[in-house]
Symmetry: C2
Subunit: 328 residues, 2 copies
């Protein structure tokens, strides 16, 4: 039920994904009366529908209150993973609600207080950037936790032993940043991490470091700025008439390339780190092919057991069977 054109494009994306893979089964979660008419004629071994009458919209600020909305489709989706009915959850709805649902239904890894959304720009594959929007009021301790999770995730995915970690700031000098980033830098210096200090926005898109950490408010704004500037340049390229048809076609391709470089949904990994199960949030503007790609990425994550690997590595390091299920 999430995203700008729900449920139509979500269903179209799911149909596209199952059409390509006979072993894939997608469970759609949402209002039966809205979703069922869109499924006409689809074989039920490929798709099923779980009815959920409540929808958490984008306008919902206290999205964290999913606990009080047991019929919300976003919460039911995460519960299907927790109950073993599904292997992974994807959603292009309200990101805050996706996270709150993931925490509530799946629980957090031992010692983790907040989940973090991390991803990679296609222009900088291998550079994990987060938080992308989960925690707009992250403290220095939260930033430290994000760094631990993201560094371990980077090692799990790429096999590198000691990923370089930097903290996003308005300058590289240690005196830059805010009191909060300076405190986070102090904590990161004490940590058994390959922490290399502050970085600037250029490093988010350059691929120079393995992990770039920031709070969710700034991360989301940087992400949206990259998208906005890319869209602007793509528009500029689309608007130029070449001297030949071939020429124009090439400028159009450059325009598409420009868009692509900023598009997180095309990057190799946007995921929620810190929860006990694979949850993949997508962009609210996602079209059907984006939804199909999101489903395929979830499938890959399940096949590779990315989430299980992170959980085992995390538990081995941060120990304990303590499981803190908490909201928000």
């Amino acid at each position: 039920m999430g995203g700008d054109e729900a449920p139509r494009v979500v269903v179209q994306g799911a149909l596209a994904a199952v059409a390509e893979d006979p072993h894939l089964h997608v469970i759609l979660v949402g209002r039966r009366e809205q979703v069922e008419p869109l499924l006409d004629g689809t074989p039920r071994e490929a798709l099923s529908l779980v009815d959920a009458s409540d929808v958490v919209g984008e306008e919902a600020r206290p999205a964290m209150r999913v606990r009080e909305r047991p019929d919300a489709s976003v919460l039911r989706t995460a519960q299907l993973v927790a109950e073993g009915h599904a292997d992974a959850a994807v959603s292009v709805g309200n990101t805050g609600a996706v996270l709150a649902s993931a925490v509530l239904a799946l629980g957090l890894l031992p010692g983790v207080h907040r989940p973090v959304v991390a991803g990679e720009f296609p222009s900088a594959p291998g550079t994990l950037f987060g938080d992308l929007g989960a925690n707009s009021d992250a403290s220095a301790r939260h930033l430290l936790e994000f760094a631990r999770l993201a560094a371990m995730w980077h090692s799990v995915r790429y096999g590198g032993a000691d990923p370089s970690v930097v903290l996003l700031s308005n300058g590289r000098e240690p005196g830059k940043g805010t009191p909060r980033t300076r405190e986070a830098a102090r904590l990161l210096d004490l940590e058994a991490l390959n922490f290399q200090g502050y970085c600037e926005p250029a490093d988010v898109v350059s691929g120079r470091y393995d992990v770039v950490i920031t709070d969710g408010y700034l991360g989301n704004l940087v992400l949206k700025t990259v998208e906005a500037v890319s869209a602007r340049y793509a528009e500029m390229l689309f608007g130029i008439a070449g001297q030949t048809e071939e020429d124009t076609a090439r400028l159009q391709r450059l325009g598409h390339e420009t868009h692509r470089l900023s598009d997180f949904t095309r990057g190799p990994a946007v995921t929620v780190l810190g929860v006990n199960g694979p949850v993949l949030p997508g962009h609210g503007r996602a079209q059907a092919d984006d939804i199909a790609r999101l489903i395929n990425r979830a499938k890959t994550a399940v096949v590779n057991d990315d989430c299980g690997q992170l959980r085992r590595a995390w538990s081995a390091t941060h120990g304990g069977a303590v499981e803190n299920r908490r909201e928000g």
Copy 2:
């Protein structure tokens, strides 16, 4: 003495500016032993030199402490304006030090507590964006003050009666933002301003609104992100070999255009609002031609009496002869 290649490029820029205008006189402020050798043979009616032995570097965090550094070139520069020896000040040094010097030497407009740095992206002329880096810890009340100053400046420059004002956030819905932006939005709603709520980063580069307000930390990071993404795409365009020479030349021009669109130093106005005199900060990476352009923009600001117009309009509205000179 400011900027990455000081004092060489600063002197070169000043020489270029005076070479083009026989009525222009530039006072260089800095270490005599470093600057004098660069002036060999320049007529002294065009250029003069004021010796200042101290230089505030980029690494200086408590740049606000210029009060304790009376020989700092950045402070002496602002004092020359305050004392009537110069009509405007330009600097590509530490922005924090430029601002602190401006406040200390020139004083603030009545009722203003902090100066704000505002500018326009060449891709969105007419959209004033600030703060670009002056106040990394701006409160909701400071954001309100920035909005008042920027809206009035917009009216002074463009003559429009009721400029539209928006507040940068991670989404347009009123529930988005942080507690601080929500409080600022509440205060702005009560104000006699054409306040239109939150905007997203796309609106900073689209030209959709007249004034976009944010705090200096976020503003600086958005500015740097725009620069970084633009540099990345320019690099992509420069890297493509065309099928003909003409073709390659055009891709190069597109690359330059991409750079240009993100370049605040080429925009029509980056200025410090809220202080009693024209102070124009520039980019630390400025080259000689950027410095010459900065000097020309200062000249235009003086000729148009931009600063005097703002002061008179501000004093008429926010009244009082109260002048609060305070540091930081």
